[in-house]
Structure formats: C-alpha cells, structure tokens
C-alpha cells in the first residue's frame, strides 16, 4: 500500500493521514532494522528514526522519485545513511569527550563525594599523579585534560557539576552571566586539551 502511486501522491501533497499510515507501517521496521544491523542503543535508534521521518516529511515531495525505486527503499536507504552518520558522529573525538563528561555528570548527581574523589581530588589528599590503570582510555584522557587546566577553570567545572549557576553565583558573589561565560570557556579549554592529547 505504501508503494502505491495514489498513496505516494497523497504523501507528496502533504496529507497528514497518509503520513500517519506511513509512520505506523514503517516505524517499528526501521527501528528494528537499524538496532539490529548497527547494534545501537535503542535511545539512539529512536533519535535516528525520528530524524529519518523528519527528512521524509520535509523532502518527500521534492526528493523522492518513484522511477528510481520504491518509496520504502528510499526511506530505508535514508535510515541506513543516517545510522552510519550517527555512528561516525558517536566515534568522533568530540563526542567521546562529551560522553566522558556525561558520565561525570551522572556520577555527580548520584554521589558528590565520589566525583570529588574520582576526578577532583585535591593534591593535598594524595592524588598520586599516576593515572588510574583500570580507567578507560577516554577517561584517562579526560583526567589528563583536567589536570592541565588552571585552578580557576577546574573550580568552575567542579562547582558546575554540583550546583546550578544561581547557587554558584550566590557563593562566589559573581553575576550568573559571568559564570556562564567562565564555564563555557573552561569547558572549551578542557575540550581543546582533550583533543590535543593523542596518548591512549
């Protein structure tokens, strides 16, 4: 039915009901295919497939040419390309860095002490300077990048893990906007240091 010429005309004319049918018939198939083929987390698959439907919704009238193949093939091909693009994006250095940062954020929300011990141990409390052998390469790179920052940058990054800008502003007696800029710059320096570090 989806590949029927009449249905395609409705879809290309912007018929919302036709799009609902397309969605209900293809969503699970696309999700299952991408999840199985590329072994992605389901959360990522949902993000990719929603993007695929967005692309179809926006471009089906202009970009889909029935003489080049079935509508379903065109859509599955978009899904395949977007899944591969997503994997390459996930594997980019920036994304590896952010995923390390994200794990810090979640640790922080669960246990503030753990974060301070894990990543922000003051030198006086015996940070050996040696890297944790058991840590993942990404985490070791993040740790080295953190170590390379000055105290003010480390401080704002550490505080931001634990508090809102408003709370930090109250303690530091600094305007919120200044804190936002400081945090953004510190994060950028951390990211730059992370990218420059090519050691495993």
């Amino acid at each position: 039915m989806i590949n029927n010429a009449n249905f395609i005309c409705r879809l290309q004319d912007g018929d919302m009901a036709a799009f609902d049918i397309l969605f209900s018939q293809l969503n699970e198939k696309l999700c299952a295919r991408i999840a199985k083929r590329y072994r992605l987390r389901y959360q990522d698959v949902e993000e990719i497939i929603s993007g695929v439907f967005f692309e179809v919704h926006q471009t089906v009238a202009k970009s889909y040419n029935p003489s080049k193949g079935k509508l379903t093939t065109w859509i599955f091909d978009i899904a395949k390309k977007r899944a591969i693009d997503h994997i390459r994006w996930l594997n980019s250095p920036r994304q590896q860095f952010l995923s390390t940062s994200y794990s810090l954020d979640s640790t922080a929300s669960q246990n503030i002490c753990e974060v301070s011990q894990c990543l922000f141990v003051p030198p006086s409390q015996g940070h050996s300077g040696k890297e944790d052998e058991a840590a993942s390469p990404g985490k070791r790179r993040a740790q080295r990048a953190l170590d390379s920052l000055d105290e003010r940058d480390k401080n704002i990054l550490r505080l931001r893990q634990l508090m809102t800008y408003e709370e930090i502003a109250e303690i530091e007696k600094t305007p919120v906007n200044t804190l936002r800029s400081d945090y953004s710059r510190a994060k950028m320096r951390l990211f730059t240091a992370f990218e420059k570090d090519n050691d495993p």
């Binding site: 799009f19 969605f23 209900s24 198939k29 967005f54 591969i84």
Partner: protein, 184 residues
Amino acid sequence: MSGKDDLELSHDELLIDRDIPLTDAEVDKLLLLPTECPPGANDRVQALFADKVLGSVYPNPIRNIDDEWQFGTWIKHVRESARLSPRIIAAALNKDESFVERLEAGDILPWTLSPHAGASLARLFRIHINAIKQLVKHTYSATNAASNSHLGLSSSTELSETILLWQNALQDELRHLNAIHLLQ
C-alpha cells in the same frame, strides 16, 4: 548483506555500506521480517519527530500572537501549518488524540489544563510565557463574553484569579522543566 547482519561493522565497512544503495528486493525482504520494539518506542519516536518538525518551523520561542487567535484555534493552525496530525501531537504530549481535538475545538480551556500539561504544550509549540498570556487573554475574552456558567465558576473575578494562579503554576512548571528560554 544478510551474512554480516550480526557482526559489528568496521569503520571502512561502514563507509562502503553507506555508499551502496539498498535494492527494492532487499527492502521487501526486510519488511517481511518480524519486529520487536521496546514498549512506548512508537510514541517516543513520534514525540521526537513532532519536536523536530515544530523546531524547524519555530526555531525561536513565539513571543507575540495576533488578537484573532484563541488558544485552541492557534494550536490547530500551527499544527496544520507544520503538517502534523493530531495523533502525532497527542503522542508528543503523552495524551490521547481526543485530547488534542478537544483542545483545538475549545472544549478544553487552557487554564483548566494541569500546569504540567500546559508546560508540555508550551515547550512543544515553543510558546513564550508572554504569548501564552496573550492567548489566554484572547480565549478568556471570547469565553467570558459567551458565558461563565459552563466553566463552573461563579464570577469573572473568580475566573481571573484562577487564570492568574494557573499562569503562576505554569511558570513554575516551565522552570522545573528547565524551559528557561520560554520565560526570559
């Protein structure tokens, strides 16, 4: 293609895989395979999709709305402009399709929504708090002119207070949802 289905693809294989188009026969076979998705996956994909479409139509919060619009008719107008069905909007709001239809028809008035539902709607449609106040004011004027009795409120003063309380609760909820861009 099928022989490698359960293997992890290397970077080079991914590049090659991207450049080889699927054929109709391959996709027809894929469509016949049984599928299994986690519960709620359909609704989540629809919600993400609706968010992407509305985000492309309104990249910035809507701050002003013409006098002619009431809450429900405005929602309907935006939804139709974005070519989204009530079902997709309902999934994005975690509600039934009938909820969207009643909202658009004016059977559900904005200030009778829970603050959470109101905030979800505001966030999805990128409506700034000032624009919500305008929409509520237009809707209030129209409904107040008709009658207050069907709202279950004894006077227009009581209704004004209800609306004010609702708007305050909505602002709190938007803050709670971290939708600060709709408040500043």
